[in-house]
């Protein structure tokens, strides 16, 4: 067994751009649910709008990427308002159902044939990030050790992505420590109590939805930059659930929770996948088992993550960084 290979792969996934993308998505979800109690199961919808907004401006309309990114984020604001305004007055489960449906409908619309002229339909859009990589000041060649290594451009995306993660985490922290954040946390505890002391609960929830959604949109932008393109298959509902898994793993309503959770999630997922791949090549393994393992490492690692999350819920439901006694104080 080549454990250095396995560890290298795992570390590369845990620190790579994908982990940063999920960290951003989870930071947004943390504002939504961890602090505001908003059950958003459609975070991928925001990611999709951020990514496609930027890509359409560049690839379809021939505009600048630096206009495309704000355009994508503006779409996220519109999506949040359209999603929240009618549903945030209702019970929270209506909102939850609406988010998951809206995100999937959006994806189906984007890949539908009438939309092909704009979104590329099932083929997506390509070569949108040239002006982003033109700014790369890192030296050429590969950087790193063994399997834990990145090309210059990969490193450039990572650098930008993790800086964005830091900035967004700092933004959420500052908001939560402000009187605005105090109202939001109060709403999470008991909406009616907050109404009774004169706060416009729906307005606060909408604001939180917009901000967390735009952070999700940034995650989508990074995804588009990383691939230098977009494709609707990257925005299936499971993306939202992986972001939730990262948040639960790291710990809700903590500043570092979503980030630590995303790093760990991808580290473990890739680690298990890589381990199974290595295992299937071992000569001492019976052929039957080796054949089974070969090619099913992805399924096995996702299963492992699922079982791991269930175990976490049983042993440490507040997540790695969460505060245990808080769980008993909720209303």
């Amino acid at each position: 067994m080549e454990f250095d290979v396995i560890f290298g792969n795992a570390a590369r996934a845990g620190l790579g751009p994908t982990a940063a993308i999920f960290a951003l998505a989870a930071v947004g979800l943390n504002l939504h649910f961890g602090y505001g109690g908003l059950l958003n199961f459609g975070q991928v919808g925001f990611m999709m709008l951020g990514a496609y907004g930027a890509a359409v401006v560049v690839a379809t309309w021939g505009g600048s990427l630096w206009l495309g990114i704000p355009f994508g984020l503006a779409l996220c604001v519109v999506f949040a308002l359209a999603l929240g305004a009618p549903t945030l007055r209702l019970r929270s489960d209506y909102f939850a159902i609406t988010t998951i449906a809206a995100a999937e409908i959006l994806r189906l619309l984007i890949r539908s044939s009438p939309a092909t002229d704009v979104t590329g339909g099932p083929f997506g859009l390509q070569t949108i990030a040239n002006s982003f990589y033109a700014l790369n000041f890192l030296p050429d060649g590969r950087h790193g050790l063994g399997t834990f290594s990145f090309s210059s451009n990969q490193l450039w995306v990572m650098l930008v992505a993790w800086v964005l993660v830091l900035l967004c985490s700092a933004l959420v922290l500052a908001l939560i420590r402000s009187p605005w954040g105090r109202v939001l946390r109060a709403i999470r505890e008991d909406e009616d109590a907050v109404r009774s002391i004169g706060k416009n609960v729906v307005a606060y929830k909408l604001q939180a939805l917009v901000i967390g959604g735009v952070i999700g949109g940034l995650a989508g932008v990074v995804e588009a930059l990383q691939q230098s393109g977009v494709g609707s298959e990257n925005f299936e509902p499971q993306v939202t659930f992986f972001a939730w898994a990262a948040l639960i793993l790291g710990g809700m309503a903590t500043t570092a929770g979503p980030v630590v959770g995303a790093i760990l999630f991808w580290f473990l997922r890739e680690g298990v996948e890589s381990f199974i791949r290595e295992l299937s090549t071992q000569s001492w393994l019976p052929d039957l088992l080796a054949d089974f393992l070969d090619g099913s490492e992805g399924a096995i690692s996702v299963t492992f993550m699922g079982v791991g999350l269930i175990a976490l819920m049983a042993l440490r439901p507040q997540g790695i960084l969460g505060r245990g006694r808080d769980l008993h104080l909720g209303t």
Partner: protein, 282 residues
């Protein structure tokens, strides 16, 4: 009881007579076949302590919900100091100065006791999103808010819990906190739904003392109460609700002598002192 117009929808509540702070005209609310509230006319006197009594299910809580915007009536009008309140959402009504508490306490469990208080301030500009990141623009007010919160907590005897999470308080302490939080909004009139339910006798006494002290400072207090000793001891006016209607209204000693009141309670074979225990909502 004076007679009001029976066409409730046409009535407006702004024709207040005398020194009423809150006027209610023809407010009606039915749940399916049950008419929970049907109040033709009710005036709450400015600066008075008004007790609302009535058997279980009389519609006291529903009336509070309607007046404070938490529920919508089928018909009727009501006004606070001449300002019509129909159709306003709860937060607008609270901002106009009418603040309610809940029969089942609603503390913000994972906020500290101090935060529970601070969040009720109406003067903090940092609660607006566009100011939230401009720390310098709300820091001074935050200090004033904390100071006022501590004063109130002190008065209610829970200042030593200020840094604790509200979820760790006892049921009685939560009742105190909820009342203190309502006062933090600096209301003109507070509507307390069974403030003494589930509170031990010693705390009840201090709670009543607070109510009296607040009243002396000019606050109008309306409260729902099942314990007749409390009602007799503290209130200036008593309103008796039965099956959603105002049965009678007057000074405490007038009301207890009223045949209809005795009948309303005994007719249901329930003594008014038979207070339902409050469930702790941990």
């Amino acid at each position: 009881m004076s007679t009001a117009t029976s066409t409730a929808t046409a009535a407006t509540a702004t024709d207040a007579d005398g020194d009423a702070i809150l006027t209610v005209r023809g407010v009606r609310r039915a749940f399916g076949g049950i008419v929970a509230v049907d109040v033709e006319r009710l005036d709450i006197r400015r600066g008075a302590i008004t007790a609302i009594i009535g058997p279980n299910g009389a519609g006291k809580t529903t009336l509070f919900n309607l007046l404070t915007g938490f529920d919508r009536p089928d018909a009727g009008a009501w006004a606070l100091e001449g300002r019509a309140l129909e159709g306003l959402p709860p937060h607008r009504i609270a901002r106009l100065g009418m603040v309610r508490t809940f029969q089942l306490t609603r503390s913000l469990g994972r906020l500290t006791v101090l935060e529970n208080m601070a969040v009720a301030a109406q003067t903090q500009p940092g609660e607006r999103l566009e100011r939230a990141l401009l720390r310098w623009s709300w820091r001074a007010e935050e200090r004033r808010v904390a100071e006022r919160a501590r004063e109130l907590l002190d008065r209610f005897g829970i200042a030593h819990m200020a840094r604790e999470q509200a979820g760790t308080l006892s049921g009685g302490q939560r009742k105190l906190l909820e009342m203190a939080r309502a006062l933090m909004t600096e209301p003109r009139i507070v509507m307390l739904d069974e403030p003494t339910a589930g509170v031990n006798p010693a705390l009840t006494q201090s709670l009543l003392d607070h109510m009296r002290a607040l009243n002396e400072q000019g606050m109008t207090i309306v409260f729902v109460e099942h314990d007749m000793d409390v009602v007799m001891g503290i209130s200036d006016r008593v309103v008796v609700l039965a099956e959603g209607r105002v049965l009678t209204e007057g000074r405490p000693e007038e009301v207890v002598a009223d045949e209809r009141v005795i009948e309303a309670y005994l007719g249901r074979a329930r003594a008014p002192a038979e207070t339902p225990a409050e469930d702790g909502d941990a």
